[in-house]
């Protein structure tokens, strides 16, 4: 038995390990939430690029407000929506660092729309990791700018109606139209294959930031099973069936090879 365990733990048999940059602390995220997976991917990419001593993350207001507890790099916690402005200054003043923001839909696409659009349009050499779960998770399930038409939340309990609440905002499509962006993509992390693609996207975005190619936006269509009031597996199914129709996955813009 002991011999078998040793065998399992031998380096050549390791197919998965916790990234070194993930802190050994209990996460506050709900079971089934996408944040944990995306945090892990960010940590893995920073580690693989050897940038742990050159990275500054900017965390949002929202569920990821405590991102700084989980990934072992320098962080600044920004006011609600202001992360791209904060990141702009850090990157301009430490131009050889990796500077990225990690924001939810309310932070990025609602209260911080001006900061997001203008940072992206200026072509700041930063990456925005955008978690789109179509709901305000931290405050308890209110309508987000990305809440789908018909989707029920605590502030649209009868479902989002365009005539009452307006339409969901495709800010990633907007970002792809801006001259300043070099890489805009939409990914998800509900399957092994999707996780692998999302990781590649984050790596490409971080590389573009370090190479000074312009702004990158990596949207991760995500689950919020607590806010959606679904089990984790039901949430994955609901996301696949509903979110991907309105928020189709794939690269929306990639000029990283051109410059």
């Amino acid at each position: 038995m002991a011999q078998n365990t040793d065998n399992i733990l031998s380096p050549e048999n390791v197919v998965y390990r916790k990234p070194k940059l993930m802190n050994d602390v209990q996460m506050h995220y709900c079971p089934g939430c996408s944040h944990g997976v995306v945090h892990k991917l960010v940590a893995e990419v920073i580690e693989e690029m050897g940038l742990e001593e050159k990275s500054v993350g900017v965390s949002p207001v929202g569920c990821a407000v405590f991102a700084y507890r989980y990934i072992d790099i320098d962080w600044q916690e920004a006011a609600h929506g202001r992360a791209p402005a904060v990141a702009t200054a850090i990157k301009r003043l430490w131009p050889d660092r990796l500077v990225f923001t990690y924001q939810g839909d309310g932070d990025l696409a609602c209260i911080g729309t001006a900061e997001s659009v203008h940072a992206l349009n200026r072509g700041e050499n930063i990456t925005i990791i955008f978690i789109n779960n179509a709901i305000y998770g931290m405050t308890g399930g209110q309508m987000a700018p990305t809440t789908l038409v018909g989707q029920k939340t605590s502030t649209c309990p009868y479902g989002r109606q365009p005539e009452l609440h307006g339409y969901p905002l495709k800010i990633t499509e907007m970002a792809a139209m801006l001259e300043g962006t070099c890489y805009v993509t939409r990914q998800s992390v509900e399957t092994v294959g999707a996780v692998s693609k999302a990781k590649k996207a984050i790596r490409k975005a971080f590389e573009a930031s370090m190479a000074g190619k312009g702004s990158s936006l990596v949207e991760i269509v995500s689950t919020c099973n607590s806010g959606w009031k679904l089990t984790p597996s039901q949430a994955n199914k609901w996301m696949t069936e509903n979110m991907f129709k309105f928020y189709p996955k794939g690269d929306l813009k990639d000029t990283t090879g051109e410059k």
Binding site: L51, E52, E53, K54, S55, V56, V58, V65, Y68, D72, I73, D74, W75, Q76, E77, A78, A79, R82, A85, V86, A87, T88, A89, I90, R92, L93, W94, R97, L98, A114, E115, H118
Partner: protein
Amino acid sequence: MHNRVQKKDGGLIGMAEQEVTLMKGNEAIARAAVRCGVDGYFGYPITPQSEIIETLALDKPWETTGMVVLQAESEVAAINMVYGAAGAGKRAFTSSSSPGVALMQEGISYLAGAELPGVFVNVQRGGPGLGTIQPSQSDYFQATRGGGNGDYHVIVLAPASVQEMADFVDLAFTLAFKYRNPAMILSDGVIGQMMEKVVLPPYKPRRTEEEIMEECPWATSGRRNSRQPNIITSLELKPEEMEKRNVHLQAKYEEIQKNEVRYETIQCDDAEYIIVAFGSAARIAQKAIETARAQGIKVGLFRPITLWPFPAGEIAGLAHGKKGVLVAEINAGQMVQDVRLAINGEEPVEYFGRLGGIVPEPDEIVNALKTKLM
């Protein structure tokens, strides 16, 4: 473009051999910043202070000192850029005028909460709302009480000349970094727009990366040499911890109050009456004192230079035994409340001011002194 005149006599103390230039207060702020080794400016145009960003844009310091100059999409973004820069250990500032500074209050509160040494300039105009583009001092309460949410203070310097606009840039950064606290220069449209002789500070290079690491071991610059990560935040959900953080802030404010009070007195030695005024109102009051003394009224001027920390003890000490104190300010009576708190009913304290962008004449102050206190 600017008249460059060599100084001929010893009119300005300690400035012999230095180049005297004629410029606006706003230009002086910009030019002093480049010379003080400032790393970044982030701002949004608004009258009457747009010359700050315009001067920086014209002078292109990014080609000389490497200073970053960026026109932000709003005052909200600008102050948050200052937050990011200050959190990264850099010397960065923004500037605006009253309505824009109102927009910045969120970021200023975050700077105070996260204990970041950001600097900002308010070249005040009259309000409320969109108000007027003419000068005012009606943001005194906002400046001295914190301005945003929470129990906090920013260090407030009130220049009364173009020379002080230039001098207070480095002072604001020095104090901000000494205490890890936001600092502001509270000016107004008079001081921002008027042209005066000024001697700019000597060139000081921007700090090197090593110097920043040494001065700001808390800064987010990437956790080099496997140090513990630096986290800049004002968030703490546990009330016991948040109370501790607030107690720490209050202790720091007490320390600042103890060490950093600055003021000036003019002709107070034989004075029977004292005028208390700051910034442009102090310049007008200085003329009023000349007029009053020509009429045989013995009056002196007390000019608070730091509005927070406020020179309360110094005012009370000076006013002791005097016949009365007149607070002259270009607002509806804001600093007068601090003066009354300081004097605590021991001597009569009266207020005179003009509102809405009207700058008082010296004679109006003399008349107020006579009618209210004599």
